[in-house]
Symmetry: C2
Subunit: 459 residues, 2 copies
């Protein structure tokens, strides 16, 4: 599509300047004093959407940070794409490690350097510009809505209620999200799944005080020994999770998807070298990517108990505690698993200790079938721009709001990410290549044109 | 022996005043500013020994605190008893919990209240007075030596070298020590064994930095999981230690000794209530007392790794560490066991982690055969005074210097303790009943008379 390329080329300097205007607002959601900046960012988005051709745009208050919403309804009978993104960013500490001012973007070596350059100001702004492009060239083929929130980096807690309260307004056929990464600059990928999360604190209490390990050792159960045993028994010799019923709701990835995932570039030696381990580890029967993408995991995030200072204090401690998390896969309900594991630990607790299991925050997994029409459209959009079929990947991590959209609004999301693993999101010297920014705009514009084809519409 | 009782009765007030003079010296070995008090205490002992009838007495310097030594040699051909005790005491913090001044002894309800009232000023001073008694009544039947150190509460580190350097001077047939407890005021016991100790720090390192548990969880070994598994496998379903060779040198207690131990009063309900556990735990085939007295143990003293703050941080940690101790029984060499366990953990370390085992301080166990002549003498001394055969008990704890005496000087010790578990040693409001103090003097005097009978001597 030459006209798309041309429009981008003709407006590239302006696009960048407009993005920089957004980046210059230090909209750090986790620091209360930046609340006015959240409003400035929301208003910046309101103006951006209107300038790009939205019929209307509005800043909504929530109990937390504001939400910017905008829409263009060409025809209620046409399909609707809702773009989700976020205007808030992470803190910039340790600020002394930045080579430039985090909120004064600079371009160096064809890369934008600033907080939010990728996550998610850079990526979400591509959608505003693709939308503008289609409007200004009179080629927008469907309805478009924008939902830009200000609390993604702090858990999106007010967005759930906002979705509940605005179901009609947010009605859409698909959510389109650019807040993830692609495999490499020349290897596009689509994130077809996110793992969910369940998290517990497991506390084992033996005697009511620390005891002399000489006087009592051997006759009174040691809560650290007991905790270790309870944990050790969870994984069998194949690193399968042994908790009864744990895998009941897991839907195995299809052979086609596993085959496509297998095309993702993977270098075991480099993988091991990057984290300095001699051997990898994991569930028997699955590759490394499959282990983190399509299989649940059981990890200890923390453990403590007894004497942890220098030297060798001899004590039989009163208490030991572990923080435990499971990553979950699509169709595993995090609340159900949370309860299952809690009851399992309570059930296996031996009589000689007291066991307390506290359920902590969790999140649902998300899965996008790779034969979903919108997925196919995204696939063709990448093919048009990159000349390559994007690889369906999964993220081992969790973005709970994505499954929230599905549960509250009944709408699937397409995770069309243009970030790179070298973008240093959440870290000092966050950056985003100009190449990804402009190619992203082009791919997104292509998506709309491909998407409506799935509805028998042609442009 | 009426004359013994009479002498004690006639001198009881003076004995107490003399003990109080020693107690008033705040000889806290762990606080450097009390070093002059250590010398005052040593000189007090020097005078006490001479006054009691010693031929000579002397204060020896060491690289740490001084040692008071004294002796009375009646005839080199006669057997020699060496009395070991310590003049140093524990700190008094938290001092606000004391009802009286820790270093100004008072008698209330026939109990002495002060730091060191039992441990070990009260108990060691009984020996000085029993020695005086036998001297003044011209009934001392053998040679006597006193070795009173000033670093027991801080590990006796300079006493080992002192023993090496003064082997001739410290030559004796038996060491007599009152620094332990008896079962109850009317239930005498002799401590026939002390457990030894080995101690390790076990560090498991996975990736070289904390990883995102979503991105890596399931594909990279979690060092806390691995540590827990390594620890959990050490004890089998009968709570036997599975480390190959661990029990090789354990000498089982004789049936006679186990039978006598079985007479020690033991109330399981009260035991459980005191530490608030619903069930006890331990090695199959042994009673609670046997588990802590004659069997080795495997305890986790501490563990830490990953995130230990509030809430639920999701992290796959880089490192996890445990502090591990084993109590050992007589004939298990602590250095051999220390090496054995270190090599075991290194051997079972899986390839996907790095394991580092650090050997920490340890100590030898000590065992006194209950048919040793000196043991039989002590048994009869208790029978004479209490009308009951003392029960041979073991202590689950460790007093490394006792096995040190055996290894360096080749002399066994008789642990003739008169303390009670209610004496609050090392705690605020330490105390020692007058009954125990005076009965102790009587029993010790009886010991000498019974001891020489084992050599065919009669008094």
């Amino acid at each position: 599509m030459e006209y798309i390329k041309n429009y981008i080329d003709e407006n590239k300097e302006r696009f960048l300047e407009e993005l920089f205007g957004l980046i210059r607002i230090p909209s750090i959601s986790s620091i209360a004093e930046h609340k006015p900046d959240m409003y400035r960012a929301a208003e910046y988005w309101e103006k951006t959407m209107l300038d790009a051709g939205a019929d209307k745009a509005e800043v909504f208050d929530t109990e937390g940070n504001p939400i910017a919403y905008g829409e263009k309804i060409i025809d209620p009978k046409l399909p609707t794409v809702l773009v989700y993104g976020h205007m808030d960013v992470m803190p910039v500490d340790p600020v002394e490690l930045w080579h430039t001012d985090p909120f004064e973007p600079v371009v160096k070596n064809d890369i934008i350097w600033a907080r939010g350059a990728d996550d998610d100001k850079g990526q979400s702004f591509m959608h505003a510009k693709a939308f503008e492009l289609l409007n200004k060239t009179n080629t927008l083929p469907c309805n478009v809505k924008f939902l830009i929130e200000g609390e993604e980096e702090i858990g999106s807690s007010n967005l759930y209620k906002f979705c509940e309260d605005h179901k009609d307004m947010l009605k859409a056929d698909i959510f389109l999200v650019s807040d993830t990464s692609m495999i490499a600059q020349d290897t596009p990928s689509i994130t077809a799944g996110l793992r969910g999360l369940a998290y517990w604190e497991l506390e084992v209490t033996g005697p009511d005080k620390d005891l002399h390990s000489g006087i009592f050792g051997g006759a009174v159960a040691n809560p650290i020994n007991v905790l270790c045993k309870m944990i050790a028994d969870v994984l069998d010799e194949n690193n399968h999770i042994t908790i009864p019923g744990f895998y009941n709701d897991v839907i195995e990835a299809s052979d086609i998807e596993r085959k496509m995932m297998g095309k993702a570039p993977y270098n075991e030696e480099k993988y091991k070298e990057a984290i300095d381990v001699k051997e990898l580890w994991g569930e028997k029967g699955y590759t490394t990517n499959e282990r983190t993408w399509i299989r649940p995991s059981f990890d200890l995030c923390g453990i403590w108990g007894g004497y942890t200072g220098e030297g060798s204090k001899t004590v039989l401690p009163s208490k030991a505690t572990a923080k435990i998390s499971c990553r979950l896969v699509p169709n595993q309900d995090n609340k159900k698993i949370s309860k299952l594991v809690k009851e399992y630990f309570e059930h296996i607790a031996p009589d000689y200790v007291k066991v307390k299991v506290t359920e902590m925050h969790g999140g649902q997994a998300y899965g996008c079938p790779i034969d979903l029409p919108a997925y196919k459209a995204a696939e063709r959009a990448f093919e048009n721009v990159y000349g390559k079929t994007p690889i369906p990947v999964r993220s081992g991590g969790s973005i709970p709001i994505i499954s929230g959209f599905e549960h509250i609004l009944g709408v699937k999301s397409i995770l069309m990410g243009f970030g790179l693993s070298s973008d240093a999101i959440h870290s000092p010297n966050e950056n985003y290549p100009l190449y990804n920014f402009y190619k992203g705009i082009e791919t997104i514009a292509n998506f709309y044109l491909e998407f409506v084809k799935e509805y028998g519409l042609n442009v």
